[in-house]
C-alpha cells in the first residue's frame, strides 16, 4: 500500500532541507478508547535519514511525539536527483522505509 512516509527534500546551494510527515497513530498509552480501556503504547522509536550510505539525521522518539509525526532538518551536501533513504521502526517492531529524490 502507499508508503506511510511523505518527504520533501529540496536542495539549495550546498544545503538540502528535508521535511517528513509520517502516517502513524503515535499512541502514548495514556489515552482511553471509547469503551474506556487504555490504548496500548504504539509509537515510532527510531527514524533515520540516510544520504549516500551515511546517516545524516537520526531521531529517537518517545510517546510524546504528535500523531502523524512531522520533522524538519537540513544537511550540507546533497544535490538534485540524489536519493535520500528514510526508514522508521516502532515499539511493536513494525517499520517502513522509502527512498525519495532530492528536488
Amino acid at each position: 500500500m502507499a508508503s506511510t512516509i511523505r518527504v520533501r527534500a529540496t536542495s539549495s546551494g550546498d544545503t538540502t532541507e528535508v521535511q517528513a510527515l509520517i502516517q502513524h497513530p503515535m499512541d502514548s498509552g495514556y489515552v482511553k478508547d471509547a469503551k474506556g480501556e487504555l490504548i496500548p503504547p504504539h509509537f515510532i522509536q527510531e527514524l533515520t535519514f540516510e544520504y549516500d550510505g551515511k546517516a545524516v539525521f537520526t531521531a529517537d522518539w518517545g510517546p510524546a511525539v504528535s500523531k502523524d509525526p512531522y520533522v524538519k532538518f537540513a544537511f550540507k551536501g546533497g544535490k538534485k536527483g540524489d536519493d535520500l533513504k528514510i526508514s522508521w521502526v516502532d515499539n511493536k517492531g513494525q517499520s517502513d522505509t522509502t527512498t525519495a529524490k532530492i528536488q
Binding site: 544545503t15 503515535m26 502514548s28 498509552g29 495514556y30 489515552v31 482511553k32 478508547d33 471509547a34 474506556g36 487504555l38 522509536q45 527510531e46 551515511k54 546517516a55 545524516v56 539525521f57 537520526t58 531521531a59 529517537d60 522518539w61 518517545g62 510517546p63 510524546a64 511525539v65 504528535s66 500523531k67 509525526p69 512531522y70 520533522v71 524538519k72 532538518f73 537540513a74 544537511f75 550540507k76 551536501g77
Partner: protein, 163 residues
Amino acid sequence: MRTTQSGFPATRRLILQGAGMVALVGLGNLPFGLTPAFAANDKYPEDAFKAKSDADAIKSLYGKTAEPSDKVKLDAPEIAENGAVVPISVSSSLADVTSISILVADNPNALAASYKIPAGTLPSVANRLKMAKTTNVIAIVEAGGKLYSATKEVKVTVGGCGG
C-alpha cells in the same frame, strides 16, 4: 462571555490533554543511581525515555548537566492551540553540535524527542509534540561534549466549552 459553570460533567473527549484522566500507568520505576549512557549515538535510549523527570532523563541520556545558554534558540508558542500538536523548533549557533533533545517537564515522561546530529548536518530541528498540561519545554544541545539548554513555558489546556 460567561463560560460554563465549573463542575460540568466529566468531558467525554478521551484525549491526552484531559489532564485529569492521565492515568500514570505504573511504569517500572527506574533503578536509582542511573548509569550515564555513552555519547548519544548508540541504540535507542530506552531508560532516558522511561525517566520521569527532565533531570533524570538528561542524566540518563548524556550523563552530565546542562547550563542555560542564549546560543540555544527554542521556538514554542505562548499558548498551545492544542496540547496534541504543539509546534516546537530548536536551533543553535554553537559549534560542532552532536545532539539536540527536547523535554516537556510535566509530561508523564519528560523526554519527548532526541536527535543525533552528525557532522555536516545543521544544528536545527522542528517537530510537533504532545503536552499534557501547562509546563516548561526544555531544549538541550550537546556541543563540543558540553550541554547547553533553553527553557520556555507553554500554556496548555483543553478547548471548547466542555459539552
